[in-house]
Amino acid sequence: MTVTELVPYEEALAAFDPVMGLEVHVELGTKTKMFCGCATTPGAEPNSQTCPTCLGLPGSLPVVNEIGVESAIRIGLALRCEIAEWCRFARKNYFYPDMPKNFQTSQYDEPIAYDGHLDVQLEDGEVFRVGIERAHMEEDTGKSTHIGGAAGRIHGASHSLIDYNRAGIPLIEIVTKPIVGAGARAPEVARAYVAELRELIRSLGVSEARMELGQLRCDVNLSLRPHGRETFGTRSETKNVNSLRSVERAVRFEIQRHAGVLSDGGTVVQETRHFHEENGTTTSGRVKEEAEDYRYFPEPDLVPLAPAREWVEKLRAELPELPLARRNRLREEWGISAHEMQSALNAGAVDLIVATVEAGADAAAARKWWLGELARRANERGVELAGLPIAPAQVARVAALVAEGSLNDKLARQVIDGVLEGEGEPDEVVEKRGLRIVSDEGALGAAVDEAIAANQAVADKVRGGKVAAAGALVGAVMKATRGQADAARARELILERLGVSGG
């Protein structure tokens, strides 16, 4: 195996034009599977949510989940797609142990939704339109655990164990048209597209679309062509890129890798590749060719779908305000820039901020907590913001305690700590940890007097007019009260005691 030299990113873009295709799988949040009535409860005991249909036992027959179809249509409509008047399911035949039927029930040349688009907004506010080729219905596979290999990898494993609880859970696969013209911004466009799609899916309420739980998974197809050439180059397909950051990195890496191969006079191999979170690289998986022969044919056990136009129009009329329009409205209401809104979106914070504002916080405070302290905590724990064990109402309560002067920011962070540690509601944490701000004049006055007595040299400077030096005394007060003093009030008292007016 030869190792390809990566070409520096700018150099790659100077010579080549990237073309992307993104395939996103969304796991629907239906109560039951796509073709049987088995429950889809996450975290259930292995193989406790199966039946003859999803185990592929002889004689079983599938029946389509109505909400699965409805969700597919709603996703299609939100992506401005045409909805098929008539379409069928198809069998995609291949052997893999996580698929007990030895075929996946999918859709082939008759997807339920096709020919749409999604507008995505980049960091600087520019809107890029991504064409949607199709959205179709299919089912998930079981979950494999590989035994005997290093770090649970399939390579070197002696055998594997399969849990079929996930087999048959509805998936919607959304495929873009070739994304051309993004140039150097291709990685950013890819990331913004997946982020926007995630918001769209959530706004429809069809899935929580949490990437870290595999509820939204992205495959990145990429090829390069020399500037000015019409025909596309050979593409690579990087599988299961499962965070927004990874989508961006995978595109960037593949651009540099393809450029390396092509500049060297080589040919890009059409293959699937695996993305490695730890270093942002991809490595070769299986070469396509043989695997491509899926021998699709119409599923004989399911009858065609012909969604009534009245139903489709009713679903269209009931669509919620779509995320980009909603964000533009919120941006106005919150008085922030497109860039700031983009940061909130990238952090997965928009809905959390909205819910926090609805719970009584002001928008600036809600944004500050979610994008600052809480974003940092989520990052530390390796979860998305929504995965933190704190609710918007609790954040709103913390903000309210700060606003009324009961907490300063430092204490508020400790309250958040407590909530994240499962110590209860913010007020309980304040109570249990004794975190109220010290602003009663007696206790604070005593701390101020002590600080002045212990720092006479500084006190003299302040008396002499160096008001800025008072900061050191405020610091001493804060230290003595373990951060629980009202800093502004302490400063007032210090200046008052030293006979200077505040400045």
């Binding site: 999803c54 494993a157 004989p300 779908l305």
Partner: protein, 98 residues
């Protein structure tokens, strides 16, 4: 026009994970070719006005409500498994030595 070659049968056998001997390939290729030829005669009868169909009944939109139905217990699900471990189906090595 219809029909199936020996190479196609060999290809399909590989995709279906069937190990066929040369004699079997010869044998099945002939049989399958006969079957496909027989089925193809349907096209001779079906005129332009008969659309291809994938289902014998003229039904559409058969759907069920999204309501949980009792399925199998894990023990029942695993009862037919040749091997199991940790309440999961145990399967042989997926990737061979390469």
């Amino acid at each position: 026009m219809p029909g199936i070659t020996r190479e196609e049968v060999a290809h399909l056998a590989r995709l279906a994970r069937l190990e066929l001997t040369d004699e079997e390939l010869d044998h099945f290729a002939g049989q399958l070719d006969d079957i496909i030829g027989a089925v193809a005669r349907v096209s001779e009868v079906a005129a332009e006005d008969v659309p291809p169909t994938s289902h014998p009944l003229p039904l559409t939109n058969v759907m069920r409500a999204d309501e949980v139905r009792p399925g199998l217990t894990a023990q029942q699900a695993l009862s037919g498994a040749p091997a199991q471990e940790q309440q999961r189906f145990k399967v042989p090595q997926i990737l061979g030595e390469e």
